[in-house]
């Protein structure tokens, strides 16, 4: 009996954590195959944690408000990029540049977040696909601004940024002068592993903010709205407004996250940096065991570690197995789309399963009643 319930518990745990367990297995197989040294691997992972975690944390707030995985975080990324382009054109480097870029991104993010929230309020229940399409639409506007309006309308002076034709921004904007300035300040080396203490401190502050935020009135309202919009509305909570605020917060945080991400990378791929960022962040969060309606800070950290370990080792491991490094490259793109698909499917099946549970209970009650009548 005891064994049985223990077995059931294990099975339940495996069912609830299929995706993370799958990735642990993949990593466990690929790490030895890749032949990387432990210190290299840890170094890489720590770097990528500093680079990505802030961006992924911004996804938590819309999930709390019941708006699912916010593919619209791309909008915040665009805001961060525009701010960084401007700051680097003004030749403000180092920490002041990073701080100024963050401040500049706020109004753009607020505007975009408000717009996105408004539209998502019209598309309740279809937030994910709608935000995905909005990000494509906004990409068009972003290109219009960066390609045609920067120069004639928004002054761009520096020739290393401007295209030779006189307007528009080059394919790559170098951030060499602010490269890893956050990461290097207060950095500590432990056994050959560089730990970007300041970046982690910023991430820590955001984590504390999120935990604190859950305990505020607004956070409580968001959780209520996320679980049942109608009940929340009946209780007098302004549902639409709350959802818009959650979108704005997420977009602003995504803008900050993008600035941190790009200062680590050291350059902006003007037309493509943001395009995959939403997908990769969401994939990482899901790998960490989050679902469409439930995600925690723990999921973020676990997800980043697992997903990026896979990212680092897959090409080498692929090359070791097949002799072709392209297979690993293929595998990591495949894995990120795959994991999003799997978790969406699992979310649906879980909902169905809960539904058929009621039927099973009814049938069970009936059986018991019959047994009672017969006995």
């Amino acid at each position: 009996m005891n064994n049985k319930s223990f077995g059931k518990k294990v099975l339940g745990f495996v069912q609830d954590n299929t995706v993370p367990l799958m990735f642990i297995v993949i990593c466990a197989i690929c790490i030895p195959l890749s032949g990387f040294s432990a210190s290299y691997l840890i170094n890489e992972i720590v770097t990528r944690m500093g680079r990505n975690i802030f961006l992924i944390l911004c996804l938590l707030i819309p999930i709390m408000a019941g708006m699912g995985l916010n593919f619209g975080m791309t909008l915040g990324a665009m805001a961060g990029e525009i701010a960084l382009i401007l700051v680097s054109d003004w030749q403000i480097w180092g920490i002041p540049g990073v701080v100024l870029a963050m401040i500049l991104s706020i109004p753009i993010s607020v505007l975009l977040g408000y717009f996105c929230g408004k539209i998502l309020n019209m598309a309740k229940g279809r937030e994910m696909i709608t935000s995905y399409i909005i990000s494509y639409f906004m990409n068009g506007i972003y290109q219009l601004i960066v390609l045609y309006m920067m120069g004639p309308i928004i002054p761009i002076k520096h020739s290393s940024i401007k295209l030779p034709r006189g307007y528009g921004v080059r394919n790559t904007v170098s951030l060499l002068n602010m490269r890893q300035c956050l990461d290097n300040l207060l950095a500590v080396r432990v056994g050959g592993v560089k730990i970007p203490v300041l970046t982690f401190l910023i991430i820590g502050v955001l984590c504390i903010f999120i935990i604190w935020f859950r305990r505020t009135k607004l956070g409580q309202d968001m959780r209520a709205v996320g679980q049942d919009m109608n009940v929340a509305r009946d209780a007098g909570i302004k549902v639409e407004r709350t959802r818009i605020i959650s979108m704005i917060m997420s977009t602003v945080l995504a803008g900050f996250g993008m600035v941190i991400y790009l200062q680590n990378m050291g350059n902006i791929a003007t037309y493509s940096s943001h395009s995959q960022i939403g997908m990769f962040c969401i994939a990482a969060l899901l790998v960490g065991g989050a679902s469409v309606d439930r995600a925690s800070i723990g999921n973020v950290f676990l997800g980043v570690i697992l997903f990026h370990t896979m990212f680092i080792v897959a090409p080498k491991a692929g090359a070791a197995i097949t002799g072709d490094s392209m297979i690993g490259e293929y595998f990591r793109v495949f894995a990120s789309y795959g994991v999003v698909t799997i978790s969406l499917i699992m979310y649906e099946t879980k909902k169905r399963k809960n539904k058929s549970l009621v039927g099973q209970q009814l049938a069970q009650a009936q059986k018991e009643e019959e047994a009672q009548n017969n006995g």
């Binding site: 604190w212 305990r215 505020t216 009135k217 607004l218 409580q220 309202d221 959780r223 209520a224 679980q227 049942d228 109608n230 009940v231 929340a232 009946d234 209780a235 007098g236 909570i237 539904k355 058929s356 009621v358 039927g359 009814l362 049938a363 009650a365 009936q366 009643e369 019959e370």
Partner: protein, 529 residues
């Protein structure tokens, strides 16, 4: 202190119509402080509408408001929204739960009224960033639960609670409002076990002792007698009686509830089918239809009869056809003419020559943007390959437009469907005529067995008569077995041979349609859960 002759609540000649359809006529009610009023009546009697008016629900304003006046403590009030009513001290516990599933009882009791603490950030960004005061919340929730007199675990999450405790959480939420003077309970015992219902009754008594007036709506009449000071019975939008609870009895109330003032005739030509063979046998059926759960139903339907299924709303009568036809998850065994019918598979039912006219005619019943011809012929075409011309040995099938038009025209004629012609779009017809199209569609299938669910819901009296007569004619002339589900007992009595009453998800009894209404009334409330 108020003088004794000013009642807490007074409703004076309240009238309400929905688009010309009078649902409340001249309602007068008074309620004193601490008094418990039991409100009963059949579905559609107007109880809910009256409470919606009192509570200022949006639907009343959207449908043109109401006439008459409401006095609270002698002052006229007119609530534009439920929030106004709440502010005036009126609380309401609705039939459907209004709780956040992932929140604890405490969080739900104080939803959007949480005590807060200011902090540095909220000084800058506004009070929505105040943190919640969890200690204070626990204290207030505890006080409300104490006031209710039934212990629930304040830290338990709603989705882990038994259903009865959810109901008590809702009541505690209303009690946690300090200014509460009047509490409306809309069928609160429907989901409770016997023990919990008893606890609720005693908590109603203790509320009344504390000076809170209660309006208690229920179908369990003995509860009304045990807890209420007075009983108000409504029927067809009128108050038919308003008496002290001590002076009446269950049988008297149920007579008031169902008795019609108009001609009270049952079916004239009842067919005795007890010797006919069994057309459909249902054994131990359960159906998981939200709000219409069916439990352990066993029923035999005889060939050629019209069987009525009646009962109060939410008791499971709609679940029976929807479950058998495979629209909701079901279990048990169903046989048609000796052959088993697989459940949870609509197509197999249709293949077995079963037809179903759904109560949801706009959602399930009709292709709203298609012509009447299409609507009538589509199922027959899909299921039985009717109205198709075959070429090349059946490889190519073309619609037989002529046959389709003929059959549509025939039904338009027979059922007196008001339309511009067989090419009109179904959306453009009135409700009654849409219902007739649904029937025509089922008739065109030429089924052996027909389920008709709420065929007269939302249509006017003239159309009602035609629909009922068409059904009866279809049954008598082509010998098709018909099962009609309706919340209106009188219309069942008018055309059915036998009537089964569903109560609490089970068959409470089957009687010939000629039995007096009171009998059915008692059955309806017999097993209400």
């Amino acid at each position: 202190m108020l003088s004794d002759n000013t009642p807490l609540l007074e409703m004076r000649s309240i009238k309400k119509d929905f688009f010309g359809n009078q649902v409340l006529t001249d309602i007068n009610l008074t309620l004193a402080e601490g008094e418990v009023l039991g409100l009963c009546g059949e579905n559609g009697a107007g109880k809910s509408t009256l409470m919606k008016i009192l509570f200022g629900m949006d639907v009343i304003r959207e449908t043109g408001g109401y006439e008459g006046e409401i006095l609270l403590n002698g002052k006229p009030v007119r609530f534009a929204t439920p929030f106004d009513a709440l502010a005036a001290g009126i609380g309401m516990v609705h039939q459907e739960f209004s709780l956040i599933p992932g929140f604890t009882a405490t969080e739900n009791i104080l939803l959007n009224r949480e005590p807060k603490k200011r902090n540095v950030i909220s000084e800058v960004f506004g009070e929505r960033l105040d943190t919640l005061d969890y200690n204070e919340m626990t204290g207030r929730a505890e006080a409300a639960i104490d006031k209710m007199g039934f212990k629930i675990d304040k830290g338990m999450r709603i989705n882990e609670m038994p259903v009865g405790h959810k109901q008590f959480t809702e009541i505690a939420r209303e009690l946690s409002k300090d200014n509460l003077k009047l509490l409306i309970l809309d069928e609160p015992t429907a989901v409770l076990t016997e023990k919990e219902a008893d606890a609720l009754l005693s908590s109603i008594r203790s509320m009344s002792e504390k000076g809170i007036a209660v309006i208690f709506i229920t179908h369990r009449l003995h509860e009304i007698l045990s807890v209420c000071d007075k009983v108000v019975v409504m029927r067809d939008g009128y108050v038919v009686s308003d008496v002290p609870a001590a002076e009446t009895s269950v049988s008297e109330i149920s007579k008031w509830m169902v008795g019609r003032s108009v001609e009270n005739t049952g079916s004239i030509d009842i067919r005795d089918t007890s010797k006919s063979k069994t057309m459909m046998s249902i054994r131990n059926l359960w159906v998981d239809m939200p709000g219409e759960t069916v439990r352990n139903v066993t029923l035999d339907i005889k060939e050629g009869e019209i069987l009525g299924i009646g009962g109060l709303a939410g008791q499971g009568k709609l679940g029976i056809p929807n479950g058998i036809m495979g629209l909701y998850e079901a279990g048990g065994a169903v046989e048609l003419d000796g052959k088993p019918i697989p459940l949870n598979s609509p197509r197999k039912c249709l293949d077995a020559s079963l037809a179903f006219v759904s109560e949801d005619r706009r959602g399930v019943g009709l292709l709203l943007d298609e012509t009447l011809e299409w609507n009538v012929a589509f199922p027959a075409m899909q299921v039985q390959n009717k109205f198709l011309k075959r070429y090349l040995g059946g490889l190519v099938k073309w619609r037989d437009e002529k046959a389709i038009r003929e059959v549509t025209d025939r039904y338009i004629d027979e059922l007196a469907i008001k339309c511009t012609g067989s090419k009109q779009k179904a959306r453009e017809l009135s409700g009654g005529n849409q219902q007739k199209i649904c029937l025509a569609k089922a008739f065109a299938l030429e089924p052996k067995f027909l389920f008709v669910s709420e065929p007269t819901r939302g249509i006017d009296i003239g159309a009602k008569e035609l629909v009922l007569q068409a059904l009866k004619k279809f049954n008598r002339e082509s010998g098709v077995t018909v099962v009609m589900i309706s919340s209106e007992l009188e219309e069942l009595r008018q055309i059915c041979d036998r009537i089964a009453i569903v109560s609490g998800g089970r068959i409470a009894g089957i009687r010939p349609a000629s039995d007096p209404s009171e009998e059915f009334g008692l059955l309806m409330v017999s097993m209400v859960k």
